[in-house]
């Protein structure tokens, strides 16, 4: 009896250990993909110095396949300088970085997707001002605007890294051609086109704002695009800086203009249902009906390129292409966009070397070459871009003509930009009137 029983207890244990061994056998490859590659050409990296055995810890929001590409972009840098970059990516970065900073256990370097969060951390005194070498590089490689996003109260803290262009409208050239629809050049033309499409029995727009606890953010991009195009860059800046209230008539008007599309049962939500299905549709699948012809247009940033089903031909005459959300006038080129900023919580020569590399044109070229990323770095060679759309976006970012404005919700204080603005959008789509929503957001603005 007794030995039977002990055998029973052994069984699950044995099963466990077998399982653990099998699984660990699956994941044998660690770190670099088996140093088969020839040694890197280190001449480009001599300026950074060598720090054998030093480690720099990096924390950011970038995970999964994008993490691989990012880590590849500094592989040569690691090999030549001897610095080991200990990278950690997490979807919970925005809260966890605050927790770690507060507890006195921050990473050496953090990559912030929101200047607003960066500013808050800098004002709390956690982040170290950028070393002069890094500032010199940023002056050389980036426009004043981009530098200013990494600047808090006159002190420069963080160099920009990658970027995205928001406010593209994705559509299917083949569907447009079949139906004789033209790509609109102005906002009014776009509204006319929407009506035409709606009359033909297809819902012109699809949208999806569901994104876990960040639900609502794609809607903020809509509002920002219209504020920039309708009220102009000056008002946009005042809005971000809270020099005009969030419920200013010009802002309210922008909401209503977006509402003409998003809250119009005739215009949305192709392939998913009624207006309210926007907030329950996940942002990553929201564009899919464009491919299937159940919806004509989808508003989303450059990174939507990665969300199309595999094998989709993204080109001017292919399955999918995109035009910039038009302004009041034809040919105006005002765009909104986002990006990341590299800031340091600690100081030291290896950290300075890493920051310098991240601000350099080499890094931008190394990363863009691998695809799926763009940067506003002026030293970036646009021909390296992996797709026509990326190349076009880089040229837009580098062009003097472009009026570029950073994503407003990312610049606003977290209490608004990562909280009440999002939930406001959600309430608004769910049926709350515009005035009520903008008043609520205004009242949440921290004084």
């Amino acid at each position: 009896m007794a030995n039977i029983r002990s055998k029973k207890a052994v069984l699950p244990l044995a099963a466990l250990s077998v399982l653990a061994l099998t699984l660990s056998a699956c994941g044998g490859s660690e770190g670099d993909g088996g140093g088969e590659e020839p040694a890197a050409n280190c001449s480009a990296y001599e300026e950074y110095g060598t720090f054998e055995g030093e480690e720099v810890s990096v924390y950011s929001t970038i995970t999964d396949s994008e993490q691989d590409l990012l880590e590849n972009s500094w592989a040569d840098f690691e090999e030549c300088t001897g610095i080991e970059v200990a990278y950690e990516g997490s979807n919970e970065f925005e809260t966890q970085v605050l927790v770690r900073a507060q507890a006195g256990n921050p990473p050496d370097v953090a990559i912030f997707p929101q200047p607003g969060l960066l500013a808050a951390q800098a004002r709390e005194g956690y982040i170290k001002p950028a070393p002069p070498e890094v500032e010199a590089l940023v002056d050389e490689n980036w426009s004043e605007d981009w530098k200013s996003y990494g600047t808090v109260d006159g002190t420069f803290y963080a160099a920009p890294m990658l970027a995205s262009v928001k406010g593209y409208v994705w559509y299917s050239p083949t569907t447009f051609e079949e139906n004789g629809w033209e790509v609109p050049a102005t906002w009014d033309e776009m509204m006319e086109l929407s009506q035409t499409i709606a009359d033909s029995g297809i819902k012109p727009w699809c949208a999806g704002f569901e994104s876990g606890e960040a639900t609502g953010w794609p809607g903020t991009d809509w509002i920002e695009d219209v504020v920039l195009r309708q009220a102009g860059p000056e008002v946009y800046d005042q809005w971000v800086a809270h020099e005009i209230p969030f419920n200013d008539p010009q802002i309210t008007e922008a909401w209503n203009t977006v509402g003409d599309i998003l809250k119009n049962e005739e215009f949305v939500n192709g392939g998913f249902g009624d207006v309210r299905s926007i907030i329950s549709t996940n942002v990553d699948v929201a564009g899919d009906p464009v491919v299937e012809g159940e919806c004509a247009m989808y508003h989303q940033a450059t990174f939507q390129a990665a969300n199309w089903p595999e094998g989709t031909d993204i080109s001017e005459n292919g399955d999918i292409w995109a035009f910039i959300t038009p302004g009041e006038e034809a040919g105006s080129s005002a765009i909104t966009g986002g990006g990341e900023f590299v800031a340091a919580y600690n100081e030291g020569e290896p950290i300075t070397a890493f920051l310098s590399y991240m601000a350099s044109a080499e890094f931008a070229n190394n990363r863009v070459e691998q695809g799926g990323a763009i940067s506003a770095n002026q030293g970036l060679d646009a021909s390296l871009a992996s797709s026509d759309l990326d190349r076009q976006s880089i040229e837009l970012l580098q062009s003097e003509e472009t009026v570029f404005r950073f994503d407003a919700s990312d610049l606003m204080p977290g209490a608004v930009g990562a909280n009440s603005f999002w939930s406001g959008i959600v309430e608004w789509i769910n049926g709350t009137p515009t005035e009520e929503v903008v008043d609520t957001i205004e009242s949440s603005w921290p004084e």
């Binding site: 925005e94 998913f272 249902g273 309210r276 329950s280 769910n430 921290p446």
Partner: protein, 321 residues
Amino acid sequence: MEDVGEKFLQVVIALAIFAAIIGLIMLLVDRAPKSFRDKATIIGFLAPAGILLTVGMVWPAVQTTFLAFTDRDGNVNGLDNFIWMFTEPTALVTLRNTVLWVILVPTISTIVGLVYAVFIDKAHGERVLKALVFMPMAISMVGAGIIWNFMYAYRGTEQDQIGLVNQILVWFGGEPRQFLLDAPWNTFFLIVVMVWIQVGFAMVVLSAAIKGIPADIVEASRLDGATAWQQFWSVTIPSIRGALIVVVTTITIITLKVFDIVRTMTAGNYDTSVVANEMYTQAFRANEPGRGAALALVLFLMVLPVVLYNARQLKKQKEIR
């Protein structure tokens, strides 16, 4: 696989250190002079738990209490945070929802768990039936959120439904609904998820308690000619009263702290937020640690009745002894 060995070596070393500490405590307690031995026992046995709790819970609790009376810059602002809580409409909705959760989840979970435990007791395939209901416990709350987002998923009337609940509605000729968007019903649909998880806990504990009922009592009541129903009320329930209180208490407290489900399924939108979720939002997203702390204090006050009730039970038990 040397690093696997290394990792388990760490575990073994840690357990050895822990065993050494405990062994040392036992030794000291045993070697204490006779006159002091009882005191030494009490101190020695309570010391590990006492030290850990003081450092990891009491101290943060004290800090939180102070934090609740400060604004975002750390200046004392009196009762402002509490005023905000009881005047701001969204905060009031949060409180209302929390009360709903705390009333419904423990009651429904315990009833279903108990009924199920009684039904499957000594039935054929009891282990399998138990495992099936226990399974949700083994899924993380985030996983549960994903599962139920699937269940509630909505597509328009022209499209194929991908969510089972709406599909069933459509099969029966109904209109698909957006389950998670319409307050106040959406809170009930979230509560369903928590119940689905907690029934497994209730069932396991209560089933063990039922098995502990001495066979002679059951036998006696049967010889008295009691029906199954009478037996349930006169034998089963009184015999497992202690276990029932434990289950209700534990689920109540787990429910008060619930935040993963709300966070993954609605992010607290559509008037579904609960205190724990709002606390997280205020402290980490809205950058209002004071409000977060005030919410935590209110949470504490909400659980106080549960604590006091249990304390009274405790006293009663002592008297019986």
